[in-house]
Amino acid sequence: MSTAAATVSTSRAGVGSRAWAFVKRHALTVYAVLVVAYLMVPIAVVILFSFNAPAGRFNYVWQGFTFDNWRNWDAVPGISSALWTSLEVAALATLVATVLGTLMAMAIVRHAFVGRSSTNILVFLPMATPEIVLGASLLTLFLNSTSVFQLGFVTIFIAHVMFIVSFVVVTVKARLIGFDRHLEEAAMDLGANEVTTFRKITLPLIAPAMLAAALLGFALSIDDFVITYFNAGSTQTFPIFVWGIARVSVPPQVNVVASAIFLVAIAIALGNVLWQYRHGDAQ
């Protein structure tokens, strides 16, 4: 008798806790969806208003749907040169920063040398320095050496490499730490010298990390405002263009360009996801 009662009460407790577990499980999912919605709302607004046909100067009230802004995306003077400048700087700076950063990461991880911990700190410092300090101090350097550095594309490029390098080092370092040296040793035992080993074994294996670092660097460069603002002189990157024009009124073409950058990035990322899904997780 007591066993039966015990069984009944156990199963009721089981149902109760299962119901609670059900609620908890789904509450978290609902929460996750809500947070993502919160993250997406401004993006949706930006994209939506790129299709707006504003009557006057301002693009804040929905007036009508149009493709005109997308067709005439460079109707606003300065917007296309700002965009190309942003892309050029990002590409160049990312390239240089990835190379420099990878070399540094290799040195830090694989060699014990005098000053290693100081190097670690030096690499970490730019990430711990507020952008405004980075930008303003670099400006001070440029203003004191205008015979060598003139504010413009070159100074923007220099600034971007400077702040991207740290991110590259950290990213590649993480990959190198878990790297299996045996592969390299095996290659060398088979007669390859340092350079060949690096080219054929090391490089392909750290390539994903380098790529990840490069992509991160590219994203950081394209989006950078504060450091660029101080060091651009008359040259305009896209964020600087937006800041300037936001003082008056933001034309829908700004939304168009911002949306375009976003959509291309997402498209490639999604493509990547799909490709991985189909070919199975290679990792």
Partner: protein
């Protein structure tokens, strides 16, 4: 599963998307380099000689006529010179920050003409530092059309370096849907119905100029006491939450959309806004307004002949009238009114665009000593929390 690979994956996915974009960028970068901003001006620097066939002109937004045939087209037809027009002056200090590096080393900025407002410290700075070229007055016979009031500005008493582009007036704009008319600074700062829906400029000359007038002080002759009185008044309105923000041009959108009920606004701006939203009004405060003038300067390295030719062109009353009518700002050229009346009688009769002596009597200019006084500047920035 190697956790670090996953992070790479994540970073790659997370930051993905721009590899393809970098290729054209790289190719372009090989041939590229600076665009409009860089290096020596395309035109030769210095005076004398023939004008070039291109003029590079930096100006504020919405500060030029747009109806065809535009004055730029007319200029090209008359002289063969094409104007590259850059609306990249967003603020006097912002523009200064952009160009000071090169100018400091005696380098050009890629422009033949740029514009700076006389109620800021910058025109004085540009002239004192010798970062601007002298005009070639022999190529500007129309300089005789300059109105007397503009002939001896404090920063350039002989008009050797600059000529006025357009002038504007400081006043109060209000939205009739949200408030009854706001015609005094005191009402703007004290009316409880306006609380949190008011903005003033971050520009010291403009805001403190109007405030000093409302205190009965003279903005063209500033003393420490009159300055402090004005500062205190603004601080009070800021602390009470009456003033929402300190703006540049960016009061226009919030005013148009109803975030603001009333604010300090520039005459020409509101003339353009009213076209979109007839519920907006603008007026010079009862205690008086401020008038300021944007001046055309030739930066170091700019081509003096080309710039001087252009300045001569825009000092033709017919051309000046078109520009004033379409921008809603005030011209400094004699004899514009008859031409303006022909182009647009409503604008020609608008005392805000073509002020009569009664209107001009109500507006004052800022004291240049106040504008370049570092103590005052620091105090004013503190009022804005910075």
């Amino acid at each position: 599963m190697n956790p670090r690979m996953t992070r790479d994956e994540l970073l790659r996915r997370g930051a993905a998307g721009v590899t393809l974009l970098s290729l054209p960028g790289l190719l372009a970068a090989c041939g590229g380099g600076d665009d409009n901003g860089g290096g020596e001006s395309a035109s030769g620097g210095g005076g004398g000689g023939e004008p070039n066939d291109v003029l590079n002109f930096s100006n504020w937004e919405l500060y030029i006529d747009t109806k065809k045939p535009t004055t730029f087209q007319q200029f090209k037809n008359k002289t063969g010179i094409k104007v590259n027009y850059f609306e990249d002056v967003n603020s006097n200090d912002g523009y200064f920050a952009k160009v000071q590096g090169r100018l400091r080393q005696g380098q050009g900025i890629g422009r033949d003409i740029f514009v700076a407002t006389d109620n800021s410290r910058f025109p004085g700075l540009y002239v004192d530092q010798k970062w601007v070229e002298k005009l070639d007055k022999s190529m500007i016979p129309n300089i005789s059309n300059l109105i007397p009031a503009q002939q001896h500005p404090p920063f350039d008493p002989n008009r050797d370096y600059a000529l006025p582009w357009l002038s504007g007036m400081d006043g109060i704009a209000w939205n009739e849907d949200l408030t009854d008319p706001v015609t005094t600074v005191d009402k703007l700062f004290n009316d409880p119905k306006l609380k949190g829906k008011v903005t003033v400029w971050g520009e010291m000359g403009d805001t403190l100029g109007l405030v000093m007038l409302s205190n009965g002080d003279d903005p063209s002759n500033v003393t420490d006491e009159s300055f402090d009185r004005a500062i205190k008044k603004v601080e009070k309105a800021r602390d009470s939450g009456q003033i929402r923000r300190f703006t540049g041009n960016d009061y226009a959108q919030p005013l148009a959309r109803g975030d603001l009920a009333a604010c300090f606004a520039w005459s020409g701006d509101v003339a353009q806004l009213i076209a979109d939203n007839p519920k907006l009004h603008w007026g010079i405060p009862e205690t008086g307004g401020i008038i300021w003038t944007d001046n055309m300067f030739i930066p170091l390295g700019g081509s003096v002949p080309t710039a001087s030719t252009y300045m001569n062109f825009v000092y033709d009353p017919k051309i000046a009238a078109k520009i004033a009518v379409e921008t809603g700002y005030i011209s400094s050229v004699k004899g514009v009114k008859p031409f303006a009346l022909k182009l647009d009688p409503k604008s020609g009769n608008n005392p805000l665009v073509f002020p009569d002596s009664a209107t001009l009597a109500k507006v004052h200019q800022n004291d240049p000593k106040m504008l370049s006084n570092q103590d005052y500047i620091t105090k004013w920035q503190k009022v804005q929390g910075q």
